[in-house]
């Protein structure tokens, strides 16, 4: 029986020892050389043509979603609504964060993604002073990057909210975010990694509330890490979404955003103008006209507790609303 030979692991030839005198300069040069060779090989490769469906202009609409469930559900609703009307749809779900997918929309990687009005405005125009729902929407239309557009907003809302455990809330008598001010230095805040540099995150909490937390722990966007981290005590305060059914199910307390850092968050489609034509916009507008917060919470419950497939949940909702 031959020993399993792994070319990576077995020092097969005496030459292996020569790499020991690895000189950084030559190695780096060669590394770059290989990288360049690889790059060139691909640049001129027919693969690029074979792989790419025509994403610019005609045909397929590439629907993206952010890396949290709420966004995934809405993206499924958009995708299924468009499919039902005969559009070609491609899915590119679970893209990290706004910081990653908005440039992805600009460069044509995706064509459409569910967005949240306030958070999007704070991303494209940090430190904005508008707060009222309509003002946010009006401001957005002006501020979105060249080539992108926001469509009709829905009444459905899903906002960031700072959450503590019931125990923490009772112990310190916490009701609002301002109540955290005297305690923050001793506390750990958890949120998605992008929060560290976001205005509607660590930056705004400091500027608007004067909150300086002892430490910040990078978790996920209102997902299982965040939920676990606050319930097991890894963090004291965590960022979740108001639509998260877990807030009601577990002993968690939402802190009121008394200084209004988190703006109104109406759910709306952010699109690449060129890729989404008038007909597709009508479909999306019809979806937004029907979408509301209780429906989203109910669908989230089905997906999380009943383990239902988000696509099927989306289809159910569409047919119940006469959209498919």
């Amino acid at each position: 029986m031959n020993p399993p030979r792994n070319p990576l692991e077995a020092p097969m030839t005496p030459r292996r020892t020569r790499t020991r005198t690895l000189r950084a300069a030559t190695a780096l040069a060669a590394a770059l050389g290989v990288l360049a060779a690889t790059g060139c090989g691909l640049g001129s490769d027919p693969l690029a043509a074979g792989e790419g469906v025509d994403r610019d202009g005609s045909g397929t609409i590439v629907v993206g979603s952010a890396n949290f469930l709420d966004s995934l559900l809405i993206a499924n609703i958009y995708a299924e609504a468009l499919r039902a009307e005969g559009f070609e749809v491609e899915e590119r779900f679970n893209i990290a964060s706004r910081e990653a997918y908005v440039p992805g929309l600009v460069d044509g990687s995706i064509d459409l993604i569910p967005e949240y009005s306030g958070a999007l405005l704070q991303y494209v125009h940090p430190g904005t002073d508008v707060t009222a729902d309509e003002e946010v929407l009006a401001e957005l239309e002006v501020r979105v990057p060249e080539g992108l557009a926001v469509l009709e907003a829905s009444a459905a809302q899903s906002k960031d909210v700072l959450v503590v455990t019931g125990d923490t809330a009772r112990e310190h008598g916490l009701e609002t975010v301002s109540d955290l001010v005297p305690l923050a230095g001793e506390m750990t805040l958890g949120g998605p990694p992008e929060w560290k540099t976001r205005y509607n995150g660590v930056v705004g909490l400091q500027e608007v509330y004067g909150l300086e937390f002892g430490t910040f722990v990078a978790l996920d966007a209102g997902g299982p890490l965040s939920l676990n981290a606050v319930t097991n005590g890894q963090v004291d305060v965590v960022d979740l979404f108001t639509t998260d059914p877990a807030i009601g199910e577990r002993d968690l307390v939402m802190l009121e955003d008394d200084q209004g850092l988190f703006l109104a968050e109406n759910i709306l489609p952010l699109v690449r103008e060129q890729a989404v034509d008038e007909e597709a916009r009508e479909v999306l507008d019809a979806v937004s006209a029907r979408l509301n917060t209780p429906d989203i919470r109910e669908m989230m419950g089905r997906i999380i507790s009943q383990r239902e497939n988000p696509t099927l949940v989306a289809r159910d909702w569409l047919s119940a609303n006469g959209l498919a």
């Binding site: 399993p4 077995a10 020092p11 020991r20 998605p192 990694p193 540099t197 005590g233």
Partner: protein, 250 residues
């Protein structure tokens, strides 16, 4: 070039997010995982090589472990393990499980291959001078297998250093922090800095293990002895492979 600016910025060198702290955290995860993998895989590999039993299992198991997708394993471990631990451990334990799984196959296969590759005459000689099986294993086969064992540890460490970045995906520290945060914040410089640091660390760890190998491996095995002036004459006597075969042990 903003990468240079990034490294030159003193703010990146201090505090809990600073480079020294993240490098140490990164090394800590790698070291714990490597130690656990050695404790699991080395004895198993040696014993299987010594007895010749379970060889098929080694190859199959090592390959299956290698094929396990890191991301899937990490997420499964988080879902299964986290609820049973409090605070930092809730995510540290799953990340370590993934890293140990990654480090076991190279160490296991190399320990096994190292023992199997010991020349039969050497083993017979050891038996012949009255050594017990465990003595043969520990004082003859292990030292002879050491170059391969350490090379297994080396390739495991290389993979650990580049994969320990996943710890950051589940909220922990280490150099992955720069990469995950860089992606979430779309800060290419930060990501690039993280990637460069990981590569540098991998090279440094590799160099360190090579030094360790020099210190640990018997000079008789490497041939280095031959180049040294040896007043006692015949250096070949130090090479176990050259030992005369005494015939079958009783």
């Amino acid at each position: 070039m903003n990468l240079i600016d990034w490294f030159a910025d003193p703010a990146h060198w201090v505090g809990p997010d600073g480079i020294p702290r993240q490098v140490l955290t990164h090394l800590l995860y790698c070291a714990i995982a490597a130690a656990a993998a050695i404790v699991i895989a080395l004895p198993a590999g040696l014993v299987i090589g010594h007895t010749g039993r379970g060889a098929v299992l080694v190859a199959g198991l090592a390959n299956a472990l290698r094929a396990l997708p890191t991301l899937g394993l990490l997420i499964a471990a988080v879902l299964l393990v986290s609820p049973h631990f409090g605070s930092q451990l809730a995510f540290a334990v799953p990340a370590l499980i993934v890293l140990v799984v990654l480090a076991v196959p190279p160490i296991l296969t190399n320990a096994y291959a190292g023992v199997v590759a010991v020349p039969p005459q050497v083993r017979t000689a050891a038996h012949g001078i009255g050594m017990r099986p465990w003595q043969v294993l520990l004082t003859v086969e292990l030292p002879c297998a050491l170059p391969l064992v350490i090379s297994g540890v080396r390739s495991a460490s290389l993979q650990l250093v580049s994969t320990a970045t996943v710890a950051a995906y589940v909220s922990l520290g280490g150099l992955g922090r720069y990469i995950i945060d860089g992606q979430a914040q779309l800060d290419y410089t930060q990501m690039l800095a993280g990637a460069v640091l990981v590569a540098l660390l991998a090279v440094a760890v590799e160099a360190l293990l090579l030094l360790l190998e020099r210190a640990l491996v018997s000079p008789g095995l490497t041939g280095r002895l031959r180049r040294l002036p040896d007043p006692d004459g015949d250096p070949a006597a130090a090479v176990p492979a050259a030992a005369p075969s005494p015939g079958r042990a009783p």
